[in-house]
């Protein structure tokens, strides 16, 4: 399980990282001293578990949980015992660890995570993504999180280490890969029709032999993706 640690105290992060190091299945990918940076990271990368300090100045753990559309599994780490009841109002919150966290208690929490993983896949699921059609996607541009309506996206084009996300009004240049954004998009609505292009199926105007017209953009269809595209069309 990939995990990240969010805590404004370096000492607390070090302790959680040490606890994680004792669990072979856990791989700490990144640590953050604030929730905003973590949200930007989660928009770029799929993570299974977040160890989250609930009490942070500015943007709290609660704000963090409420901001994420499809949050990964979250284990709260906190000094406040009185938050426990409120914590379980959020489906993504799996457990609540009171500092200082003992190894024994931490292991129980990981077991709980494993049990849940066996019941349903950990992390943002495709199913969840599919229900997100018409909802939002946050993109990170120049340290700003910009909200895009998924149903306003027409085409996404790979441009080296970046992608261009095109809507009818704007083009957003984002530092990520086509593969990563594809994982965030509902499969029923978006389809990759070329190694450099993902299209919004609902925005197709017409299709010629080797290309799709979306707005004013003519998008090439690769030979390998053409059969799948044709299969999904409601042909008369």
């Amino acid at each position: 399980m990939n995990c990240i640690i969010i805590d404004d105290e370096a000492a607390a992060r070090a302790i959680v990282a040490q606890l994680c190091s004792k669990i072979p299945e856990l791989d700490v990918i990144e640590q953050f001293d604030n929730a905003i940076e973590a949200i930007k990271f989660l928009n770029q990368q799929n993570i299974d578990v977040v160890f989250l300090d609930i009490h942070m100045p500015g943007f709290s753990g609660v704000d963090f949980v409420q901001t994420l559309k499809n949050p990964p599994k979250i284990v709260l780490t906190t000094s406040d015992t009185n938050f426990a009841i409120e914590a379980y109002e959020y489906e993504s919150i799996v457990d609540y660890l009171v500092k200082p966290i003992t190894l024994e208690r931490f292991q129980k929490s990981i077991q709980k995570l494993k049990n849940i993983s066996q019941q349903s896949p950990v992390g943002p699921s495709k199913e969840a993504g599919e229900t997100a059609s018409g909802e939002d996607l946050y993109i990170n541009i120049d340290r700003r999180l910009i909200k895009l309506k998924l149903n306003e996206i027409t085409v996404i084009e790979a441009k080296g280490d970046y992608i261009d996300i095109k809507t009818e009004k704007e083009v957003y240049h984002v530092h990520t890969t086509l593969k990563k954004i594809k994982e965030k998009l509902p499969e029923k609505v978006f389809m990759q029709i070329h190694r450099s292009f993902i299209i919004n199926f609902n925005k197709i105007i017409d299709i010629e032999d080797n290309s799709v017209l979306i707005g004013k953009n003519v998008i090439p269809i690769s030979r390998s993706n053409r059969p799948e595209l044709m299969r999904r069309l409601n042909l008369l």
């Binding site: 105290e9 607390a12 070090a14 040490q18 000094s79 500092k99």
Partner: protein, 106 residues
């Protein structure tokens, strides 16, 4: 009487991982004085809500250093600060001083 700080929790967590113990001591030696300075400044400028946030961070370190009574004291003080009351300041400072002195010995 203030309890004596100790590294029992950290040593237990470290096990044979001496590097973690060293790393943690380095972190707490750096982070604790910074938080103490922040706290003192906030009290001086009467920013009590901000001071409550700092006490919240400091109380976690009390816990890590095995200071259960001091932790309980800090919980009460944090609540008092949120209500605009800093009467426990001097006693809280003596806890901070004790820990500061202890950190010079490890």
């Amino acid at each position: 009487m203030i309890e004596t700080p100790n590294l029992n929790y950290i040593k237990e967590l470290a096990g044979e991982d001496i590097e973690f113990e060293k790393k943690f001591i380095h972190i707490i030696k750096k982070e604790f004085p910074e938080e103490v300075d922040t706290y003192l400044e906030q009290i001086q400028t009467n920013e009590l809500l901000m001071a409550a946030e700092t006490v919240h961070k400091l109380k976690h370190k009390f816990n890590i250093l095995g200071l259960e009574k001091a932790y309980g004291y800090a919980v009460t003080y944090e609540e008092d600060l949120r209500e605009g009351n800093n009467k426990m300041d001097m006693d809280f400072r003596s806890i901070l001083q004790k820990i500061t002195k202890y950190l010079t010995t490890i």
